[in-house]
Amino acid sequence: MLEAVARTRDALMGAGGVEEALRGLRAERGQESASKMSVIGLDLHYGSFHVLKDVSLDFPERQVTALIGPSGCGKSTLLKTLDRMNDLVPDCRVEGLVTLDGQNAYEDIPVNSLRRRVGMVFQQPNPFPMSIYDNVAFGPRTHGVQDRAQLDGIVEQSLRDAAMWDEVKDRLRKSALGLSGGQQQRLCIARALAVKPEVLLLDESTSALDPISTAKIEELVGELKRSYTVIMVTHNMLQALRVSDKTAFFLLGEMVEAGPTEDIFTEPVDPRTADYVAGRFG
């Protein structure tokens, strides 16, 4: 594994480019399914604090990948490297490779276009202080959609995809801050979907919600993976088990183990994973 990473780095240094390096890496692992995003040999520092240590992980297309691990192990940090939200942290240093469709996410793709293609929903719902309609239309407008009819269509479709059109269709002009917490979070999902992303990042997006809203969002994620690649951080083992196809377990900035969710929960290879999923620490 480490050799593979080293070889990937070498290939990158050479003329082959990212695509070839990735092909090499996949061949090495005997992997078939296409990865939508990958991180390879990722090291991240906040100042002198080494937060992510040599993390390599693939995120398969149109699947749900769950990131689990105790608080502070770097799950959110990893998510934020995927859409470069870490750029906003003044002394954050990222080394290694992050790819989207085989392109280097930090060099080949302009940051605003990366963030359009990789959407993010935060732990706390953060609707803008504007109307429900304007919240959803914010992204499309940012990326140049001005036509009224087209915007109307996008707003309706996004709210339908987020399973809340019927709840809000009569109050689109009302402030989004008047919605309940669960509705606000689904609005944030709709807002993220409105720019037609390819990848959706969810950072403990149900942890602030009641069980009914949580169930709705879990169901939604199940629907969304038909068209999107979903990467979610969760503290809830059952949630990971219910909705994810792949699970990666993190501990103190290292990725301990990753694989099909069933395997991680039923026959983990690493004893630390076994302890964590059995609830023995965390």
Binding site: N126, P129, F138, T142
Partner: protein
Amino acid sequence: MSSKVLRGLVYAGATITALILVGLVAFILVKGVPYLTPSLFAWEYTSENVSLMPALISTFLMAALALLLAVPTGIASAIYLVEYASETSRFVRLVRVTTETLQGIPSIIYGLFGLLFFTTLLGWGMSLLSGAFTLAVMVLPVIMRTTEEALLAVPRSYREGGFALGAGRVRTVFRCVLPSAAPGILGGALLALGRCVGEVAALLFTAGTVAQVPDFASQGVFALFDSCRTLAEHMYVLASEGLHVGEAYATAVVLLVVVMLLNVGTNAAVGRLNGRTKGDA
């Protein structure tokens, strides 16, 4: 026992404050209202009618011009400091310390600066322009500080939400951050307006005390170089001459009403802004 004493003190304090305020207003009204004659509102000032009309109009001109200069500059600087500059930069810290210090400086110092700089060095003389620039310099720190505070109070999550959708910094600041800071910024502008309307010391030697409205009709922009007096100055001059103390009180009544109307108006505007952003559902 001691909590009863404390509560007594709190009530006493509140009562005394209320009494002083009510007493002050009542005193001004009693002394001033009888002198609110039509001649006090004559278009032309003469030494007999001591009309406050030119001063009233000049007050609006002066305050509007000062805010026109200070509000955009102050808001832009605050946006730069909060949204663009790095928090740890020495320049930012220097600017913060400077604005804080400038806020506490007596207005007579600004008047002296205006006299030396705008009136004398730039040769603008005692004029509407010199006065307005002096006031602008005086209220700039107020506007900067209140805008900064309003921006800092906007949750980080709004900015993150904007960036995460691929919006650039300009769009994020103007569409996600500024609308929720607007009530606070407007509050700061009102505070600045209040200081402009009530200011005397900074204007005596920069705007002068000529009791005429700058004559834009016949002089065009050059009227900016006309000297004029604001209501507060009018009151000060009448009171210090000692010949028209009753009219000085009447002017105080008008000043009180103007400030009150401005307050009501701005509160309504802030309320409407809040209603728009904070939601009504």
